[in-house]
């Protein structure tokens, strides 16, 4: 019969409970009484006792130094409600790590300058008082410094030329017109209103003549004898008369001008000498050519060709 099921002996569970001091006083007394009379159970007791002793003498192992920090940094505890409310008002998180240390992400954000003023001040205060976090922070600082110290690499020679060979440079706009246009726009912008009130005033001032003219036209044409056709005829007659008188006055001024008479006299004198006429024509042609060349260089010539030439000469 197996020992475990032999009612004459103690089973292993009872012996282990006896060694663990897990029996009641009455049960322990019964076990002691049986052990004093049963050599088999005494032998079994010795074997279990030896095992218990060997288990008790196993050495304690030491985990990695970061293990406890990693565990504690990820375990949170709910602080009392009052503390959480105070913390929520002043900080981002309402929970604090069980260990009271700053988490790795918090230290990194502190180094990155990504915390708010208050959070940063809190982190700085904690680091100043906590040697563990100070050491951790230094580790992160070293890592940040190592990565930041990485240099930049240069591509192979000719990289810029290979890129520019495939870039479509847009056709340039003539510089003179661009500059003139920019200046006019800049000058005009100075007169534009900058506030809503300014725009309202400008709009009122601009619309006042229109409103006034519309009102006047209404008053005028509301007269039964005055029609649009009659008015148009009258205006055109008046305009023709005005233009005619202006033209005749101008013509008289030109014809009767002393300066013009003197110029005509001079030309008449000069025309008597063919040499003078030739020289005059030559000078006039030369001046015309110079004027056309200046106009071409400043208006029609593409600026990039000029700048490219300058750039090539610099390189």
């Amino acid at each position: 019969m197996a020992r475990e099921h032999d009612l004459r002996h103690l089973n292993s569970e009872k012996i282990q409970e006896f060694l663990d001091k897990g029996l009641t006083p009455r049960e322990e007394a019964l076990v002691r009484e049986h052990l004093s009379a049963c050599p088999d159970c005494r032998g079994e007791l010795e074997a279990w006792s030896l095992l218990f002793s060997e288990l008790g003498s196993l050495p304690e192992l030491t985990p990695s130094p970061v293990l406890s920090r990693q565990v504690l940094a990820r375990v949170t505890v709910r602080r009392p409600l009052r503390e959480r409310l105070v913390g929520w008002l002043g900080a981002k998180e309402g929970k604090a790590p069980l260990s009271g240390h700053l988490p790795a992400e918090g230290l990194q954000d502190y180094l990155d300058g990504a915390l708010s003023g208050r959070q940063s001040a809190g982190a700085a205060g904690h680091v100043a008082a906590c040697g563990v976090c100070r050491s951790e922070l230094k580790g992160w600082e070293r890592l940040f410094g190592s990565v930041a110290a990485l240099g930049r690499f240069a591509p192979a020679a000719g990289f810029a030329e290979r890129v520019m060979a495939r870039v479509r440079v847009p056709a340039p706009v003539p510089a003179l017109w661009v500059e003139a246009g920019r200046r006019v726009v800049g000058w005009a912008r100075g007169f534009l209103p900058r506030t809503r009130r300014g725009w309202a005033i400008a709009g009122g001032v601009a619309s006042a003549p229109t409103i006034t003219m519309s009102a006047l036209l209404f008053l005028v044409f509301s007269h039964p004898l005055l029609t649009v056709g009659n008015f148009t005829t009258y205006v055109s007659w008046k305009a023709s008369a005005l233009l005619g008188s202006l033209f005749s006055a101008l013509a008289s001024a030109v014809v009767e001008s002393v300066a013009l008479f003197r110029a005509y006299s001079l030309l008449e004198t000069l025309a008597k000498s063919p040499i003078l006429v030739g020289v005059g024509g030559l000078v006039f042609s030369l001046m015309s050519a110079i004027a056309l060349w200046v106009l071409y260089r400043n208006v029609l010539a593409p600026p990039s060709s000029v700048e490219s030439h300058y750039a090539r000469s610099r390189v």
Partner: protein, 195 residues
């Protein structure tokens, strides 16, 4: 006109108006930063030159689409990053260590994932890459996911803020923070293993 004194936005405006020198000035300002980012992402010099070149060509041929309210540097980095990420996805490149996969659990797995160098004579490009990217920190960066790598390089090498990185990578701000935190944690772990 001294193009070196002009701001990026003014240069972009002049480039859109047809000034070739404006293009060249922008290129000279950003060819190294853009090439460096792409090179560290693909870890192949020849490929990085091709990708960076293509990114600049695309950007310059679409200069009219640049909006001055954004930084020009963010715009050009965005184009370069997107182009490189697209290429990596097409090629389905993986970060492989010459010593075997970092995720190998047994020595047999590590041996199976180890790269075998067939020739003892390195090609010139590979020699240059090994010299340029062979440092501990460079190797550690090379083992990060492409998105993590981009975030770390933009933050610590190029000095962009979280918001600017979010704009370049077209990601939410929270995602950028998460990428940076995880990338730095992985770098710290990788460098601690080496030391």
């Amino acid at each position: 006109m001294d193009y070196a004194q002009l701001e990026d936005k003014e240069l972009a405006r002049l480039a859109a108006k047809g000034r070739e020198m404006a293009f060249r000035e922008l290129l000279s300002r950003y060819e190294r930063p853009v090439f460096s980012l792409v090179y560290r992402m693909v870890r192949d010099r020849t490929l990085a030159e091709d990708l960076a070149q293509e990114a600049f060509i695309r950007a310059f041929n679409a200069i009219d689409s640049y909006k001055p309210r954004f930084k020009f540097s963010s715009w050009i980095f965005k184009i370069a990053n997107n182009h490189t990420i697209d290429h990596l996805r097409k090629r389905k490149l993986d970060t492989v260590s010459i010593d075997g996969s970092p995720h190998a659990r047994t020595s047999e797995e590590e041996a199976q994932t180890r790269l075998v160098v067939e020739s003892h004579e390195e090609a010139p490009d590979r020699y240059v890459e090994a010299r340029e990217l062979g440092g501990q920190i460079e190797e550690a960066i090379g083992m990060l996911r492409p998105e993590y790598r981009t975030a770390v390089l933009l933050r610590h090498v190029e000095g962009y803020t979280y918001d600017e990185i979010a704009e370049i990578m077209e990601l939410p701000l929270g995602t950028v923070k998460t990428y940076l935190h995880r990338a730095r944690g992985e770098l710290k772990g990788l460098l601690a293993e080496v030391s």
